[in-house]
Symmetry: C2
Subunit: 189 residues, 2 copies
């Protein structure tokens, strides 16, 4: 499952890797959702969208690229969702790996490791370059877009340089939040 917040013009970060324009919905409501590193305060609608992730234990593993890992400083060794993290990277940074955070230099090998860790639960991918690779390998089953009502103009795209298109999707499940519309699509085969 891929999940990212995206501007209406397709960006998941601005040209400086900033996400302030995209992550406002995590902090614009009254429903407190604590996690290991702090808390979100979201609208009731977004809480309904997020609850399975935080309370339901739906997420069994997270796959991320090295760039995202570095930007997040490895989430301090513990991702907010509380699941093991699998980093696709050609090198292992100083001080790593740590328990719950492992490194793999091949995206598909990393996926297998993540799946083994997740068991029946979902494996989440939150890096565009990995999403592209998993789409190409036809191993991505679900695409979640938290669509934010802003045009950024430039930055990093959720979907870029995709091969083997068109990729057809189901109609989405829709949750209308505050400053975000959560759209969950199934990838059709």
């Amino acid at each position: 499952m891929a999940e990212m917040s995206m501007s209406l013009d397709g960006f998941v970060a601005d040209e400086n890797d900033g996400v302030d324009e995209l992550f406002g919905w995590y902090f614009n409501g009254d429903v407190v959702m604590p996690f290991s590193g702090g808390e979100f305060r979201v609208s009731e609608a977004s809480a309904e969208f997020l609850r399975p992730v935080f309370a339901g234990g739906r997420i069994g593993a997270l796959l991320t690229g090295r760039r995202n890992f570095d930007l997040a400083q490895g989430w301090g060794g513990r991702h907010p969702v509380g699941c093991p993290v699998f980093v696709v990277s050609h090198s292992v940074p100083d001080g790593w790996p740590r328990p719950g955070t492992t490194f793999h230099d091949d995206a598909l090998v990393a996926l297998e490791a993540a799946r083994a860790a997740a068991g029946d639960r979902d494996v989440v991918v939150a890096t565009p370059s990995l999403i592209r690779q998993y789409l190409a390998a036809k191993v991505l089953d679900e695409i979640v877009v938290s669509l934010v009502p802003v045009l950024l103009g430039r930055g990093t795209r959720y979907f870029d340089a995709l091969g083997d298109t068109p990729v057809r999707l189901s109609d989405p499940a829709i949750v209308a939040g505050r400053a975000v519309t959560h759209l969950t699509y199934q990838v059709l085969r």
Copy 2:
């Protein structure tokens, strides 16, 4: 008001100007919506979205670029919506202008002419390069995206090379159609 059908990865046409993957929702339902050149057959949800356009006379003028005009062969001189068409183009093609279809070489001059013709009704823009110019000039008040559940990978983008970003929008009015999600945003100042 800008209005186009867009793939989830941001394209309004494929690299060959094809729109077959995007316009399926015009023909996948039971509700017949006749227009001068034929008829659409849409889902009940999409009919609710379209009815104000066709039955309500909401659209008073259409602004389009030359490329789009040429691809549509000028809609035979009569656009499906039945409103006057204003083409932004540096030259006037053979056989044109005709009554109801005029040509202007400046986007803002064309807008003024379209507004004069539309009176109290909406002026619709359906060409990405014009949408970009009107966003930059801060004269666009509403953005409608008929979001289609497909990834095209390449083609013509709805929003490309925007300046003066971020452009912030309202939360959208949402109509969930079949093979399309209609999203109507207000541009915030």
